[in-house]
Symmetry: C2
Subunit: 310 residues, 2 copies
């Protein structure tokens, strides 16, 4: 039996990972901090705070997972780059790796980030040739965990992979993030104040990212694998597409906000490993993904209070 | 007041670090797992198991150190390279960093290893140019902690440095390690079975390593600093010097043990940072250091049971 423990299962990616894992034949055990999760059929929910000492041991001893998909982390927008919570998540993740191994686990996939790479070194980050040289505490803690996981696995008789995420968007995103803030502003008839938008980024829909993680877990591929679309587009292009879908293009204010110092002109991803070794391709074009998001916000606006795009 | 917390203070390096820190004007708080330490004047001893949840917080809240010299780790000879205990020490060390910062700490120095470097890349490992690419779980966990410490310090308003140790020897060394095993065998009239000894290594006396750590802590140097002699010598040369000092050179069996596969021909250290930036030079030549060790074993043999050099 393939039995997977998914952490961060209520999160932005995690919630989309459960159905693909069920489809691939896994018995899915989903962990989140609060009591119960969304009513995904054939998923067993567990409530656990992985930052509590002993929580990972108890959970792994109970579930005895063969597979671990570890997506949980501190993700408060803006704050997560520099927060000391990153250290607590390294500690909790290392403890989880030990508990998973001790309970007989066989394969682990962790969630990394493009912020592990040296962005000065390459416009298109490649798992094999681009140096790991994180510029932030978040990137450093993720890179440190990747290094630990990679060296731990063979000593514990396990296999492992590490999915490095780039720029994500999707329905129900935190309202201060780029795509959500522009979509909600325009749908509500407010100004969308943006940077110049010339910088190029690789955008991927959160549901596609989750599908890629499920495929990676279900493969035998080892080590870091970029999880991205493989195509970087100017941020202004994304903003323009949202405006075309949401209406009110006249309210877009490109250049109204300064581009932060040190922002690289391009952060792209090599996706040969994901495409050729894992055998995964995204289902949605950027066009389709953005249409889903705008439709979702159109249906949900008014149900919740939105913060403005500071 | 400069108040330093020294972890691993009863260990092979730590025990030699206390006096130099006192000499540099520090109020020295020494931590070891068991109750009391050697009667070093002007040192306050604390008993704490840093692997216990909450131990680091209690200790830092009590001592309120301005400086942290973190030497504690899992060091069981041979086993430490691959042990899962390495993960527990990453967790404990990260937790210690957070506790030190929360208690108002200002500067931390951690203990790294030459095993963080890619030994294929250079015969003389350099802090700035030699890639960090550990081949072992021990090296990976040390390199991961270095990355975390370096990124954490600025966010916590601290300064930090990381001393990378190479090959150490000294009095009272674990009897299975190279220098101790050859010295004790020859002093006891047993065969000293060695590899061919052609491989070159950088050897440093443990007391000199401790002095270098004290100097590094007392400096403002940031980041990784090799702690080594700067000179790599063939292992056979070290063995021959021991034989000259201990007698029984006819019992040395070079080539009696195979050189392990993948052993690099040379593991040397660039010491420009230590010498020019920290301003530290070793007190003992290899000759003098080995003479001390042989004299120590000559005085202590018979007091303890020795394992043979397997």
């Amino acid at each position: 039996v393939k039995r997977v423990l998914v952490t961060g299962a209520g999160g932005f990616i995690g919630r989309h990972a459960l159905a693909p894992l069920v489809q691939r034949g896994y018995e899915v055990h989903a962990v989140r901090r609060s009591r119960s999760g969304p009513g995904e059929p054939a998923v067993v929910w567990h409530a656990a705070d992985l930052l509590e000492p002993g929580a990972a041991e108890s959970l792994c001893a109970l579930v005895r997972p063969t597979h671990l998909l570890h997506l949980a982390w501190y993700t408060e927008p803006d704050l997560y780059w520099r927060s000391l919570e990153n250290l607590r998540w390294v500690e909790a993740s290392s403890s989880l790796l030990r508990a998973f191994a001790a309970a007989g686990g066989g394969r682990v996939v962790g969630a990394g980030t493009c912020a592990e790479y040296d962005w000065e070194a390459a416009a298109r980050c490649d798992e094999r040739s681009t140096p790991v040289r994180p510029a932030t505490l978040y990137g450093a803690c993720k890179a440190a965990l990747a290094m630990i996981q990679q060296a731990h696995a063979p000593e514990a008789g396990m296999s492992q992979a590490w999915g490095r995420l780039f720029f994500l968007y999707g329905p129900d995103e935190h309202p201060t993030r780029l795509v959500a803030s522009v979509a909600t502003a325009l749908l509500q008839g407010r100004e969308a104040r943006c940077t110049s938008g010339e910088q190029r980024r690789d955008f991927l829909n959160a549901a596609d990212a989750a599908g890629a993680f499920a495929a990676l877990l279900d493969s035998t591929v080892e080590g870091p694998v970029n999880i991205a679309s493989g195509e970087s587009v100017p941020v202004s292009h994304v903003v323009a597409r949202i405006a075309a879908l949401a209406g009110n293009p006249g309210l877009v204010r490109l250049g109204a906000r300064p581009t932060p110092a040190g922002e690289p002109a391009e952060i792209g991803a090599a996706v040969e490993r994901l495409r050729d070794e894992v055998g995964w391709r995204g289902r949605r074009s950027l066009e389709e993904g953005l249409a889903e998001v705008v439709a979702w916000w159109r249906a949900h606006l008014g149900e919740r209070v939105h913060e403005s795009h500071g």
